[in-house]
Symmetry: C2
Subunit: 213 residues, 2 copies
């Protein structure tokens, strides 16, 4: 309601519309896939004429590319908790919490990423080969240090990371299946807490970072 008098600058208009379009695009790409999504659907959801989308993003693929890159950036941020932690209980525990929270709050982004990877990453293959590869190596080194320090069992670090990704993202990517098996209702707050607790308990016990109850 503020700034009712001053007209928006061109930069502000651009940023506002781009955000509108990107948010709508993320949802439509998640629901329908790249091929099933149409610029018309995205335009309708964003509340703009279709031609305006092509004004801000030259092609459908350019728009899609921006959506995927934004998602990737969010995920990298969520991983900061990993390094700062003194051991696996804190580090992996916080990482599970962070990724489960992303699955809950931004399921569309997770689905777009999953779809992109399933289709052999036509748009973000370079990210997989550079940024993600380096990130993975770094986190594997952290896990190896925890193992050497006797803070957890000698688990294969790579497959542990895959299990963390798989389990947490499953709650977003297969959210519809989970909801159906929950009687058609979204998980309640308590059910989300139970999910997080189950994942953390099984994995942290499974790698020998905590003892039996």
């Amino acid at each position: 309601m503020a700034q009712s008098a001053r007209p928006l600058s061109k930069k502000e208009i651009r940023e506002g519309n781009e955000r509108l379009i990107l948010e709508a695009a993320e949802n439509v790409f998640a629901e329908a896939g790249f091929g099933g999504a149409t610029m018309q659907l995205i335009a309708d959801l964003a509340g703009l004429p279709k031609a305006n989308l092509h004004y801000y993003f030259p092609t459908k693929e350019a728009l899609y590319r921006q959506v995927v890159q934004n998602i990737f950036q969010d995920w990298l941020k969520a991983a900061d908790v990993f390094d700062a932690a003194p051991g696996p209980v804190e580090g992996i525990g916080a990482y599970i919490d962070a990724k489960m929270e992303i699955s809950r709050r931004h399921p569309a982004g997770s689905k777009v990423w999953a779809s992109e990877v399933m289709h052999r990453a036509p748009v973000i293959q370079d990210y997989l080969e550079t940024t993600l590869t380096e990130w993975t190596e770094g986190r594997m080194a952290v896990i190896r240090r925890w193992i050497e320090a006797g803070q957890m069992d000698a688990i294969n670090p790579r497959h542990l990371l895959y299990m963390l990704w798989a389990t947490t993202q499953h709650y977003a990517d297969f959210g519809h299946q989970i909801e159906t098996l929950n009687g058609g209702k979204p998980l309640s707050d308590a059910q989300w807490e139970a999910a997080k607790a189950s994942v953390k308990t099984i994995i942290l016990r499974g790698i020998g970072a905590i003892g039996n109850a």
Copy 2:
């Protein structure tokens, strides 16, 4: 090379062509998604004219539906090992092995299923509500009996099942990402064995079904 003389019966021709088409369709749907797949691509991969596809399957959606139903049937079969087992070590261990083997041998099917669920199951929603719901309830009952018998910890059975699905299917659905992180090469036999061993170790220890090494 046998039967070079006798002409194929119409039934044999139909069955052979349907198998060809279904196999091609599974791969194309997995690679491109439902919206991105075209009847032309499927026809080319099957080595048949496009019009023949419509002779055997009236619409693209009917063909897709058959592909998804076949995948679902395969998965139900793989779950038989669960019930026959005397305890979680054998039951869950064999289930992990079976699902990892499916991810390795039929990754396309897994991807089609994942894509279908991610898009809110437009085709197999009824299966989720009936067959899958019943199957899940049955397996949860088995897990509860194991818990009551003291064969494993009091883990939430539902979230344990989700973790089993997530972890095993990840190796198919995200196979491209895993391959990229493996230097662009598919996992070797030894690496697949390491993957299976890691998953089984973490989960079976995590639920208290086996002790520390």
